[in-house]
Amino acid sequence: MRDFSYFRADNIEAARNAAALPGAMLLAGGTTLVDLAKCGVAEPATVIDISHIEGLNAIDASADRALIGALAKMSHVADNAEVKSFFPAVSEALWQAASAQLRNMATIGGNLMQRTRCPYFRDPANFPACNKRVAGSGCSAIGGVTRGHAVLGVSEACIATYPGDLAVALVAFDAEVDLGERKLKVEDFFLAPGATAEQEHDIRPGEVITAIEIPGSAAARRSTYIKVRDRQSYEFAAASAAVGLELEGDGRTIRDIRVALGGVATKPWRARAVEDALKGKALDEATIREASELAMEGAVDHGANRYKIALAPRVIARAILKLGETA
């Protein structure tokens, strides 16, 4: 770990000013920054501690919307009664993420800034080539161990999977991220690698996430998050799905459906093809399973991750079927 200077921001303006400095990185819960500093990926010149800024950890949720401060802890949001009632997929995504200890430390804003778990990205000493770390240096993952890598949104520059859970649910329900001067759809905040894998987020120097806002909807109220992995806890998703469902008055025709995927794409992945195929259709298992396959259009595998192409549609289908079973 390299020496760095430390600055504690007492208010959001001070944080924004400091964040504009070259080599500055924000410290909130620390669960990502400390980890990446230890493995040599993050080498901040200045660490700006925003964890003492007051008023940024509020959770204000109702049927209409959820407004969640950037410094709210993952565990607090997961446990919030209104979030559980009106946005169950958000709560479920959070409590299936990381471990209890990490959820008690990590913040919502920091969670959006979580970096990939690609082992090549995380080991600069042994794998100098990584387009995410050093633009144009190459990709060590392609041709290597790819069991956890993405099949959607990949490019020749990068196949690293977006690892988080919360953002998958946020993308499904059209949440926005508040950057102060700008508000962005979470879906647009995350960037697929294309030729510029080093740019993961649409965030500019001096911008600080202050909150996320999730609009309420019938689909958000009847929603779930299914996360599939070999280990029951404390593992990133092999594939996950956040799904919301709204039925017509007949109780079997789909009026609205939201589908987003985790663990299989380079960013939290909205599966609109599946949504479009199912809107207006009856809640029927064969129809659901067939439509779920549409999520994998354009998928590209690198050998060891081919199973994800078979797995992800099943996760979507099971999530929809689970919601269909609940009255």
Partner: protein
């Protein structure tokens, strides 16, 4: 040296403190309150910190090392390279065999595996050392590496003749058998993954070296340090107060240990070196990857006619590890014809090492899956298949079992599990989207025996101190030795203090192969018996003793009080007698060696494994046995496997402390669940490098992965295995869990997975 106050620990049942009582671990309170200080937590004046630089190639030469930037970095005291580290003498191996090379450099110029130590930085603080280590630049001349067993360059390997076991004509009998199965079973590279990382503090005072290091073998490691630095064995003091998990990995002094001790000598300052988590995956060997082929020929009624077994394990380019793959294959079932042969293949890895039940564990995976396949082939219940082929004696050694309660284990396990309600057809049991499967497998581990010594001191206040250089890595040594001394001497267990983990105490051999409890209870029993004899002798013969005029032949000690057997005459506390006869202590050293043993033989006994006693010595073949019954749920869409129930019935002979034995069995079962479903060192085949060497990516089971586990003891005292009748506990229960799970997965899903771990993509 560590002392535990037992007064607060005694809480359970009536006969808690006797051997066989369920006394709680006496070291437990110190561990859960943080009062237990582990080896590298010692606070020393002037302590410096060393950090290693590992090779980024798997094969080749170091051509140059640029240390200038590191040397001028803040706080740096030294940058060590193969050119600048002091030369050490080669040390003999754990059999006591002389080294191939007269000298030894723990930092290398010739790289044979990725992560091998090529340089080290010593600085005033840990952070300074980490920062400076990143500044060391190394240039290499890289050559092609053999990355694993499936590498085209690996070849068939080296036949290990000593592993060949044959009787009858196995190949011919297999060819003629009416029913035949033949399949290949693979296990990946696995790691011990102890919570406490490897590391040490080394301090020199003149030519005396003190090492604080977690150790499963103080005397063996002290001997290695002595040989490296050409100092007398007695000049090395190894201190290992607590061990945060070893699982076989902490029995040897390793290259990083030598770097720290050499740096301390060169700088004349104490040096602390702790491997970071990725280095714990490359600085010492885990379980070698294995490949086995098992062919079984049988009659139509299920009676085995022949077993043909071939095995391969990986070893290092510059080190030999043989994982005995035919060890269970050759003894579990009766067969008139048998053949087992094994090769080892050199690959560019750190030399593999011992991980819980080396040999027996992968061996059981092969044979216990294969017999399950035979059972389905013949439509015979898998447990019945095992009973049809029950070995009434050791089929290989042709000797009687000392004890073998395996039939009893199957009966008790099946009853508790409800095996009779099993639906025989695969895919025939279901709970919603979960396919439910039941599987069974047996396990075994040999009774490894050795010799140990212990000192028992009776102090003037009636308290007792037991000293031994053996160790407690969580299995309960502190506790069972206190129970043994208390029972033998007739004193309350809270009067006994056990001191372990210091090589200056009475000697002990390696804590491995599930041998410590049997060896050390025997040594403590003997030493305590001698102390008791001396106490009673004093009481009967000393003119100042009130018992002297009784003219009795003997006295009894119960609850710390001495009296005549029939109760006539006085009754004295031990302290009162000691005071009456004017003694401040009685000390006895007991060992289990023959009286004729020479000092050289004693040294060899404690510092090598050359004098272990074969488990088939004399008229008997000695083993622990178990039967595992497992329920799994396989998601029909996702391929994920969860273990929902485990019932295991185990024969470890007499249990010295059932509570601690059950805990060890459950630990083995949990480790077996990880092996079956999760654990795998994943190698980037382009670079020969482990890419998941950390606890986020090397999958170990969490609490959420572990169901309720029921263990049932079916053992009986085995007088041929140990002084007090126990057999091995620590390693037994992991043997057979992985095949039981694989067999249950087949029953659930109808798909046979023969490559561990059974991850979801294999079942999609």
């Amino acid at each position: 040296m560590t002392v535990h106050d037992i007064k607060h620990a005694a809480s359970d049942s009536a006969r808690l403190e006797a051997v066989g009582g369920r006394l709680s671990r006496v070291d437990g309170p110190a561990k859960i309150t943080g009062a237990a200080h582990y080896a590298v937590e010692q606070q020393l004046e002037g302590l410096t910190h060393a950090v290693l630089v590992g090779a980024t190639i798997a094969a080749g030469k170091v051509t140059a090392i640029d240390t200038r930037a590191a040397e001028t970095a803040p706080g740096v005291l030294a940058v060590l390279t193969p050119d600048t580290i002091m030369e050490l003498r080669g040390a003999s191996d754990w059999f006591g065999k002389a080294p191939a090379q007269p000298t030894f450099s723990p930092l290398v110029r010739e790289v044979t595996f990725s992560g091998q130590h090529v340089a080290a930085v010593v600085a005033e603080t840990f952070e300074q050392a980490v920062a400076a280590a990143a500044l060391v630049k190394v240039w290499y001349d890289e050559t092609p590496a053999i990355v694993d067993l499936s590498d085209g360059k690996a070849g068939d390997g080296i036949p290990i003749e000593a592993m060949t076991k044959e009787w009858g004509d196995a190949e011919a009998a297999f060819a003629e058998a009416p029913v035949r199965i033949c399949a290949a079973y693979n296990t990946p590279r696995e790691f011990q993954a102890a919570m406490e990382p490897h590391g040490l503090i080394a301090r020199w005072e003149g030519d005396e070296l003190t090492i604080w290091e977690p150790s499963q073998w103080l005397d063996g490691m002290a001997r290695t340090y002595a040989e490296w630095f050409s100092i007398p064995f007695e000049n090395v003091r190894l201190v290992s107060p607590y061990i945060g998990g070893g699982f076989g990995s902490k029995a040897l002094a390793l290259a990083h240990s030598a770097v720290a001790a050499a740096a301390a000598k060169m700088l004349d300052r104490p040096v602390k070196l702790v491997l970071n988590r990725p280095q714990n995956f490359t600085s010492y060997g885990g379980r070698a990857a294995t490949r086995q082929t098992v062919a079984i020929g049988a009659d139509r009624d299920g009676k085995i006619q022949s077993i043909v077994h071939r095995g391969v394990n990986e070893t290092a380019v510059d080190g030999m590890w043989v994982e005995p793959l035919g060890s269970v294959t050759s003894i579990m079932y009766a067969t008139p014809n048998f053949s087992s042969k094994q090769n080892v293949v050199r690959v560019n890895t750190v030399v593999p090492g011992a991980k819980r039940a080396p040999g027996e564990n992968p061996s059981a995976f092969g044979i216990e899956c294969a017999i399950d396949e035979l059972a389905y082939e013949l439509n015979i219940d898998p447990m019945e298949m095992r009973l049809i082929n029950y070995a009434e004696q050791d089929p290989h050694a042709k000797k009687a079992w000392s004890t073998r309660q395996l039939r009893e284990a199957f009966a008790a396990g099946a009853e508790a599990f409800g095996w009779a309600r099993r639906s025989p057809q695969p895919r025939s049991m279901r709970d919603g989207h979960q396919l439910v499967g039941w599987g069974v497998a047996a396990g075994t581990y040999p009774v490894r025996r050795a010799h140990g010594e212990a000192v028992v001191k009776l102090l003037s206040d009636g308290s007792v101190v037991v000293e031994s250089s053996s160790i407690d890595m969580g299995q309960g040594t502190y506790t069972i030795l206190a129970q043994t001394a208390a029972e033998t001497l007739g004193v309350p267990v809270e009067n006994v203090t056990v001191k372990l983990g210091d090589s200056h105490f009475a000697r002990a051999g390696v804590t491995g192969g599930s041998r410590l409890a049997g060896v050390m209870t025997g040594a403590v029993h003997k030493a305590a018996g001698q102390a008791l004899d001396e106490l009673i002798g004093l009481a009967l013969s000393d003119p100042r003793s009130p018992f002297q005029k009784l003219q009795s032949n003997t006295l009894v000690v119960r609850d710390g009080r001495i009296a005549s057997p029939r109760g006539e005459g006085p009754e004295l506390l031990i302290a009162e007698l000691m005071s009456a006869v004017g003694r401040d202590h009685i000390e006895a050293k007991g060992d289990t060696l023959p009286a004729s043993t020479t000092p050289e033989e004693r040294y060899k006994n404690y510092t090598t494994i050359a004098m272990s006693i074969p488990h088939t010595e004399g008229d008997y073949s000695r083993h622990s046995w178990c039967a595992h019954f497992v329920e799994v749920r396989v998601d029909e869409d996702f391929g994920t496997v969860r273990v929902s129930r485990v019932v295991s019935a185990l024969d470890s002979g007499r249990l010295y402390n059932p509570k601690l034995a059950e805990s060890q069995w459950k630990g083995g079962i949990i480790m077996g669940i990880g092996q079956a479903l999760l654990e795998e060192g994943i190698v980037d085949r382009r670079h020969g490098r482990i890419v998941n060497g950390n606890f986020a990516d090397y999958m170990l089971p969490t609490n959420a992965d572990i169901p309720d586990i029921q263990t049932i003891s079916v053992g009986i005292p085995d007088p041929h295995s140990s002084a007090l009748g126990g057999k091995g506990v620590g390693e037994l229960a992991i043997v057979g869990i992985a095949p039981a799970i694989a067999n249950a997965v087949f029953h659930a899903k109808g798909k046979r997975v023969r490559d561990l771990p059974i991850t979801l993509e294999k079942l999609i």
